[in-house]
Amino acid sequence: MQISLNWIRQFCPFETTESPREIGARFSLHTAEVEHWSIRGSNLSQILVAAVLGVKPHPNADRLTVVEVDIGRGEKRDVVCGAPNVRPGILVPYAAPGIVVDGHEIRETKVRGVLSQGMLCSEKELELSVDSTGLWELPPDALAGTPIATLRPDLRDVILEVDNKSLTHRPDLWGHHGIAREFSAIYHAPLLALKADDGLANSRGQSQIRVSVEGKGVGGRDGFCRRYCGLQIDGVRVSPSPDWLRHRLAFIGARSVNNIVDVTNYILFELGQPLHAFDTQRIEGAEVRVRRAHQGEELDLLDGQEVKLDHEDLVIADARSAIALAGVMGGAGSQITESTTSIFLESANFAPARVRRASVRVGKRTDSSLRFEKSLDPENARTGILRAARMVLDLCPEAKVIGPLKDLAHEPAQTIEISTSAAILTRRLGAEIEAREVRATLDRLGFLVRGDTGGEWKVRVPSWRATKDVSMREDLVEEIGRIHGYDQIKPFAPEWTCDSPRVNEHRRLERTAKEFLALHCGMSEIFTYSLVGAAHCQRFGLDPQSHLKLKNPMSEDMDRLRQEIAPMHLEKAVENQRYARSFGFFELGRVYRKKKDRRQASDLPDERSHLAGCISFEKKIPENFYTVRHFVLSLLERLRVADAQVVPPSEASIKPWAHPGVHARVRLRSKDCGQIYRVHPAIEAILGLEGDVILFDLDFDALFESRQREIIYQSPLKYPTVPFDVAVIAPERVPVSEIQEKIEKAAGKLLLSAEVFDVFHGEQSGQGQKSVAFHLIFGALDRTLSGEERKEIEERVMEALKSSGFPLRQ
C-alpha cells in the first residue's frame, strides 16, 4: 500500500527533521515494513506555466506540431510537441532544457529538423496520473512563468510503500487515517478525528430503494454481513474529478475513473472502508438484497469478466439477479456511467472468510476484498458512507441525499476489556518503561485506560482493533514494545539451571554415517526431491498407483511421494556422467508408504529414513562391487551395528533396476535391511549409463535399531601366534564363506583369524573352478602352542577341506 505523507499530515501534523528514508525506517521499526520511498514533485519548482500562443504543423512529421509558448516575462520558446490536445490559448507545464523529467534530462535538440527548446509535459510525465495521453491543461487563471510548485504546493509529497504482508493482521492500517494514528503514537503528535456528517444520516425524503439482508446469513461469527449501510443520492453529474483528487489518487497508484468512483476510492484509501456506487436506475425492481448466490448463478463483473457463482458466495442482488459479488467487485450491469444521475452508495461489513474465499475462487484480489478479509471495523461502514456522501455533495453542488441512511444488520464489534498493568506489560518485554509512557502510548493508539497509572488497569480496545487483532495482554505487550522501540530493550540471558541436553541418538548416528561416507569413502552428499511422477515410477518398474498422491500437485512429474531413492540417484548419475566418469554420492532421505492398517484420517503414512549411495566407476571390473561392499561393511562397523551380514540376494530383494547377479543383500539379525548391487544392464542401456554404476541402499531406521554393539575389551595376546596358509580349489560359484565355515569348524577355538588373501580363476584352477588361499592364525590366550598341537590343527583343517570336496592346492 502506498502512503502519501501529505495526506497523513492532514490528520497528524507530525514534525520531524528526518529524511524520507529515515521516516520510512522509523515506520518499519515501529509499525510495518516500508519497502520503498519516493519523493514526488521535486522538479515542479523548475517547471513553469506556459501559455500556448500558436500551433504550426511540423514540416517533416504528420503527428508532430511546432508550438510557440510564452513562458512568462515576455519570453517565448518553440517546442516540438506530439500531444493531440495542444491548441492556442491553453496553459500547459513547460520544462526548459537541463531539467529532469520522468528520469530524463530535457535537452535543446532538433526533432526531425526543427529545433525544440524544451518540453511541454503531460500529467503522466510529471507522475500526477497513472495514464494520461495529452498535455496537462492548467487552470485558465494561472499566470505564465509561475512555477508549478507555487501554483500547486500540494504536489510535493513523499510516498512510502508499505509491504501489504506486514499489514495482514491490522485492519485499521488499510487507510491513511489509521496510518496517521501510528504516526501520532510514534512522533507524539496530535491526531485529528475523522468526522462524519451525522446530519446526512437523517436526510429528508424517501429513497425508492428497498434494502434487505437475508435470512440466517446475518450476524454472528459465521454471518455473511455484519452491517449494511445504503444511501441514495440524486442529482449527481458524473464527470472527471478535480485535479487535486485525481492527483492524490495518482500519487498512491490509483487510477482516476470519474468523480463518483473516485470518491468511493478516496474513502477506501482514507478510512480503509470499501464502498460501492450503483446506478439507482439500473437496480431492477428498486430492490437491494444481500443474499447467498444461487448455485451456478452468473454475474458479469465490471472488469468485463463473467463468473459463475457458488452457493457459498455472498452477492448483492436486485429483484432479478446478482448485481455485485459482495466485497469483491461490482457488476457491469449496475455500474456508474456518464449518464448516471442517481446513485445508491453501499458501505457494508462483509464476513472476512466469505469475501476471501470468493475472491480466491474467482481470482480477483481487489482493493476491496483485501480489506474485507482483514476483519474491518463495522463502525467504519457508517463513517465511510457519510464521508463519501459529503464529498459527492461537495463535488456535485446540485446533488441531494434522498431519505435517511439505511443501516441494517448492525452488529457492533465486541467490546473487549483487558485487565493488566504497566508492570505486567513491561515485565514481558524485559524493559524498564515508565508507567506514564506506557499509558500515553495506549492513549495515542486509541485504547481507553482506566485505573491509576501505577496500579491495575482495565484497558478497553478501540473498535478498529477489536475485530480480532487485539484481544489479550500479549497484544498490548506488542503495542508497548513496538512503539517504545525494540531496539531500546537491553538484551540479557535468562536464568536457567545448567543441564546437559538430551542427545538425539538418531540424528547423531545420521551425522556419523554421513561424515563417514564423505571422509572415508570419498562420496559427496546430495539432496533429491521427495516428489516423483508416474512416468518416473513406470520407467523403473514401480507401480505408480501404490504411491501416496498429492491432491494439488504443481506438475505431473512431481505429483506423488517417492517410495525409493535409488531410481532418482540413477537419473542423477546420468546427469553427472556428462561431466565426470568417476564419482560417488549419497543421500540420507526419506521414503513414504501408505500405512497398511490406516484407522483414522489423522494416521500418518510410514516414513523411513534410507541411506542410499551411488558410485560411478570408470571401467566395468569386478573389483568395483567389492569396493562398495567394503564401504558398506566398514560403515556398519563404524556405526557399531551389531550382527550385520552380507548374503546372496533373494528374489524379493532384487529391485527391478538392479543386476540380479552382481547383487548382495545386507541382513541385520536375519532381517533384510539393504542391498548392494550393480545397475541392471537393461536400465543401463535405457538411461545411457557408462562405466560401472554400483548402488547401495540401507534402511537407516533398521541400522539405528541395531546400533548397540558394545565394545568388549580384551588384552592383547601375550603368547606368540602361528600363521598357516592354505589354498583350495573350489567350484566358481561356491561362496568363500562356505569354505571358511569349514575351516572355522575344523580349527575350533585356537583359530584366531582367517582371511582370504588370494582368489584366482584360470588355467591352473581348471574350467569352472577357482583357487582360494586363506591366511590362518592360530594361537591361545594362555600358552604358546606346541609343535604337536600346531600340526594337529593343520591336519584337521586340511582333512576337513578335502573331505568337503575342496582339494588342496600345493
Partner: protein, 360 residues
C-alpha cells in the same frame, strides 16, 4: 670391475703357512691391500672377509697353527699375525663404511618425486553445504543446552496449522502454499510442526531446535523451491522475555557469522507468536551504508521470531499463565546462499557434483 677369486689367492694352505710366517707376513698384507682395492661391492667384501677372518679363514688358520711353533717363534709370529689381523679388520671396516656411505649417497641421488604429478585420485567427499551449516548451528545450540528434535514430513492439518493458531480460512494460510495429500494430510510447510510435537512431549522448562526439510507448492525459480530447509528453535520457561529472545539471537548470529552482528527487531505478523518480529541484521556486505543486497536499506531481513502465542502454548498443553517462551525460524538455504554468495536456490537439489563438491 673384474671379479676376484679370493679362494685362489688367499687359500689357507698349511704348507703355505710355514712359508708365510717364515717369509714375510707383509706380503700377505700387500696382497690383501691389492685385493681390497679391487673389491667392487659389499658381497665381494664379505667374501674377502670370510676368506681371511672366517672360521676357516687364512688369518684364523695361521693363528690356529701357531701352536705348532716354538714358544719364542710363537710369541713373535703371534704378535705379527695379530697385528696383521687388526690391520685387516680395520681396513675391512673402513671399506664397509664407505660402501654404506656410497649406497646412501646413491639412493639420495636417485630417489626423487615429481610433486606436480597426481597419480592417486582417491577423492575427498563432503557433506551438502546445507547440512554443513545445519550441523554448525546444531552444535552452537547444543552447547547452549538445546535439544535437537525432528518430526514427520507428512503432517496433519492440526499440527501444521491449527495448533499454531492458524485456523481454516485464516489469511496466513495464503502465505504458505501447501501441498495436500489425497489422504487429507499435508507436507509440512514449516518446521514449526517440530515445536508442536516438542511441546506435546516435553514438560517445561525446555530448549529445543528442529532442523528439517519443508515443502511449499511454489513455482521453482532462482529464489523459490518446492523443498528447502528450516531450523526452528523454541525456549519455554517461567518468565521468558523479549529481552531474552534478543540475547539468544545475538549470540546465535554472531556465532554463525563469526563476528559481532548488529540485529534489530521490527514488528512482524505470524499467527503463532505474539508479539511477533522480523529480525534484521546489519548488511554484512556494505556494513549498513546501503547496497544492492540490502536494497539500499542497510539491513537484511533474516528470520521471523517472537514470543510464543498463548494459544500455541495451550495447544501444546502448557499453561500460558505460568509459562512463556520464544520461538524463531531460520531459513538454512538462504543462510548458505548469503554466506557463499550463491544466486540460485535450485543448485541445492540439483545433485550436480560440480556444485556440491565446491564445499569440501
Amino acid at each position: 670391475m673384474e671379479s676376484v677369486d679370493f679362494a685362489e689367492v688367499l687359500s689357507p694352505d698349511p704348507a703355505h703357512f710355514e712359508h708365510a710366517v717364515k717369509e714375510d707376513l707383509s706380503t700377505i698384507q700387500a696382497e690383501f691391500a691389492a685385493l681390497l682395492r679391487n673389491v667392487s661391492d659389499e658381497k665381494e667384501l664379505a667374501t674377502l672377509k670370510v676368506h681371511l677372518l672366517g672360521k676357516k679363514g687364512r688369518i684364523t688358520g695361521l693363528l690356529k697353527e701357531l701352536g705348532q711353533l716354538s714358544p719364542d717363534e710363537r710369541q713373535a709370529c703371534g704378535k705379527r699375525i695379530n697385528e696383521l689381523k687388526s690391520y685387516v679388520e680395520e681396513a675391512l671396516g673402513e671399506a664397509e663404511a664407505s660402501f654404506v656411505d656410497r649406497q646412501m649417497r646413491e639412493r639420495l641421488e636417485t630417489e626423487w618425486v615429481d610433486v606436480s604429478l597426481n597419480l592417486s585420485r582417491r577423492p575427498v567427499g563432503n557433506l551438502h553445504p546445507v547440512s554443513q551449516v545445519q550441523y554448525e548451528i546444531e552444535d552452537i545450540f547444543s552447547a547452549m543446552g538445546f535439544e535437537v528434535l525432528d518430526g514427520p514430513h507428512v503432517e496433519t492439518d492440526e499440527v501444521n496449522f491449527e495448533a499454531l493458531n492458524i485456523p481454516k480460512e485464516h489469511p496466513a494460510r495464503d502465505m504458505q502454499d501447501t501441498f495436500y495429500l489425497e489422504d487429507g494430510n499435508l507436507l509440512r510447510t514449516h518446521t514449526s510442526t517440530i515445536q508442536v510435537r516438542g511441546m506435546q512431549r516435553l514438560k517445561p522448562p525446555f530448549k529445543i531446535i528442529g532442523p528439517g526439510k519443508v515443502f511449499r507448492s511454489e513455482r521453482i525459480d532462482a529464489s523459490h523451491e518446492v523443498t528447502f530447509h528450516q531450523l526452528e528453535g523454541m525456549m519455554v520457561n517461567r518468565d521468558i522475555k523479549v529481552a531474552h529472545l534478543i540475547h539468544f539471537m545475538k549470540v546465535l548470529l554472531s556465532s554463525i557469522f563469526r563476528r559481532e552482528v548488529e540485529v534489530r527487531l521490527r514488528p512482524g505478523y505470524f499467527p503463532f507468536v505474539e508479539p511477533g518480529f522480523e529480525l534484521d541484521i546489519r548488511c554484512l556486505l556494505c556494513s549498513g551504508k546501503g547496497c544492492s543486497v540490502c536494497k539500499q536499506v542497510g539491513w537484511v531481513e533474516l528470520l521471523p521470531c517472537g514470543m510464543v502465542h498463548p494459544n500455541v502454548l495451550r495447544a501444546g498443553n502448557i499453561d500460558p499463565d505460568k509459562y512463556s517462551g520464544f520461538a524463531f525460524g531460520l531459513g538454512l538455504d538462504r543462510l548458505v546462499m548469503m554466506r557463499y554468495g550463491i544466486d540460485d536456490i535450485r543448485h541445492f537439489h540439483s545433485a550436480d557434483l560440480r556444485f556440491i563438491r565446491q564445499f569440501r
